[in-house]
């Protein structure tokens, strides 16, 4: 059973200035399927199309061509979002609200009934270790606390599919370890997890399968069997598959 599928999905960004149209390829003919219960890592350099792929999944972007399907529904589809949890690369939360108010908001938006909301809010905040900061405004939260709040809003409605955009970027080693544990806990519960990352060592520890994106194209997919017990296998595959498309040249060491 497929959790999600990209079917020849392309995204071309068009901008025009004084009648001159510029096109930038975000994603090109992406063909990818992820099974239910799988933990899938999307690897790639900056500008490779990881975030574009995630935005297509979340219905924030519309594919220029092709189709994107999530939990059997063609995106964009508002209803299916109730079954997905999403945490972006940074905690894009409203800082004027407290932890409790923030979670109540996302619980309500996710369709959790009012009668169950307060208990669920308390439980999720406890679960991510923010139990003592529930009535603090987010403006007073540290970066680590904000990341946890962001994770909490993604999990509050116990989704079938969790999408994490660069979940370990900028975290300290302890927080990275905790995030790894969360992903493995979700997997143990049978939740499908898709996450994007630059961090190859993290990806190889938790993923069942990975996909390497380069210049908007899916350059390679690998299963755990292809890297487990083979040091540097994933790193080498990554280095072979990607090329810089962000206009940045190599560092020259003399």
């Amino acid at each position: 059973m497929k959790a999600l599928a990209f079917r020849k999905a392309s995204k071309i960004y068009r901008s025009s200035h004084l009648g001159r149209v510029t096109e930038v390829v975000g994603l090109q003919n992406l063909e990818l399927e992820i099974e239910k219960g799988e933990v899938f890592g999307l690897l790639g350099l900056n500008g490779s199309g990881k975030t574009t792929a995630i935005k297509l999944l979340m219905g924030l972007h519309l594919p220029t061509t092709g189709e994107v399907e999530v939990l059997g529904r063609r995106m964009p589809d508002v209803e299916v979002l109730a079954r997905i949890g999403y945490a972006p690369e940074a905690a894009y939360l409203n800082r004027s609200l407290t932890g409790r108010e923030t979670m109540s908001l996302y619980a309500a938006l996710s369709g959790i009934p009012a009668s169950r909301r307060a208990a669920r809010v308390g439980a999720i905040l406890e679960q991510v270790g923010l139990g003592r900061a529930v009535d603090m405004r987010l403006s007073a939260y540290s970066k680590g606390m904000l990341q946890r709040a962001s994770l909490a809003q993604a999990l509050i409605h116990e989704p079938e599919l969790v999408i994490l955009d660069e979940p370990v970027t900028g975290l300290d080693p302890l927080a990275i370890k905790e995030m790894r544990a969360v992903i493995l806990w979700l997997k143990a519960k049978g939740t499908t997890v898709l996450f994007s990352s630059h961090d190859i060592s993290e990806v190889e520890k938790v993923c069942d399968r990975i996909g390497i994106l380069s210049g908007g194209r899916l350059a390679k997919t690998m299963t755990q069997a292809q890297w487990r017990g083979k040091p540097d296998a994933l790193e080498n595959a990554f280095a072979e598959s990607v090329k810089r498309t962000d206009g940045v040249g190599e560092i020259k060491l003399k």
């Binding site: 979340m58 219905g59 997905i84 409203n94 938006l109």
Partner: protein, 254 residues
């Protein structure tokens, strides 16, 4: 409608906690108090002058607040990317826009009510006997604020520039009070094309003369049919602006 309520709640909280908005309300109270001093010059017409100045100050502060808040309402959430998290939950875009708009209107309405109460107490203390209805004048100001808010929201989404949206909002505010002049200019215009163009432009802009009861309070209370028509005008104009805003917003990618 639960999602509308959830968005409404957090928008309302966000505004009430916003210091700029509180400063605006404070400034309104100072203006009313200033009117108390200035009205001493009006001799026999002190109460009338305090009534006019207070209502005008209330409305001006509400107008400035609603334009400022609604112009930033969506654009700022896009800039801070807080909108990502909202729209990746099962929230229909029109629910989001409606909740944001109503939450803002409620916050501005609360400020308007606080200023109105303060103003009314001063008038009451000065022995104002009440020509016309204070509540009706206040309600008309709220109606104008709603119309201006809906228009500013539409302009912010159509122009995607906060400065341009604010400038156009102020322009429409003035034009809205110029309806009789526009009709006069149209009547005097020699060309039938010009006449049609002026009238069309004038009709597209809100006609605040319909809601300017505070300027016509001395004429006494209008009938129920007038009040019902004024309410329908506000609802119809706001609905049209909000629906056009939804049309634009639904095309947007984030």
């Amino acid at each position: 409608m639960n999602t509308v309520k959830a968005v409404f709640d957090y928008t309302f909280r966000e505004h009430v906690r916003h210091k700029v908005w509180l400063s605006a309300a404070l400034f309104g109270l100072i203006l009313i108090a200033g009117g108390l001093v200035a009205s001493a010059l009006a001799q026999d017409e002190r109460a009338r002058m305090l009534l006019d100045l207070g209502l005008a100050a209330n409305e001006a502060i509400a107008m400035i607040s609603v334009v400022f808040l609604t112009v930033h309402l969506i654009l700022q959430e896009v800039e801070s990317r807080a909108i990502f998290l909202i729209l990746t939950h099962p929230v229909r875009r029109w629910h989001y826009l409606l909740g944001r708009f109503l939450g803002t209107l409620a916050a501005v309405g609360l400020g308007l009510a606080a200023m109105g109460l303060f103003h009314w107490l001063i008038l009451f203390a000065l022995g104002w006997t009440g020509e016309g209805s204070y509540l009706l004048a206040w309600s008309c100001s709220l109606g104008k604020t709603a119309v201006m808010g809906a228009l500013a929201l539409l302009l912010s989404l159509a122009l995607t520039s906060e400065a341009a949206a604010m400038a156009f909002s102020v322009f429409f505010w003035i034009l809205g009070h110029f309806s009789s002049e526009m009709n006069y200019i149209a009547e005097k215009s020699g060309s039938s094309f010009m006449r049609a163009a002026i009238l069309a432009f004038s009709r597209a802009a809100p006609d605040f003369a319909h809601l300017n009861y505070r300027d016509a309070a001395a004429a006494g209370l209008p009938g129920h049919r007038w009040m019902a028509a004024a309410l329908l005008y506000v609802v119809g104009y706001c609905a049209a602006c909000l629906a056009l805003s939804v049309q634009i917003f639904e095309q947007k990618e984030f």
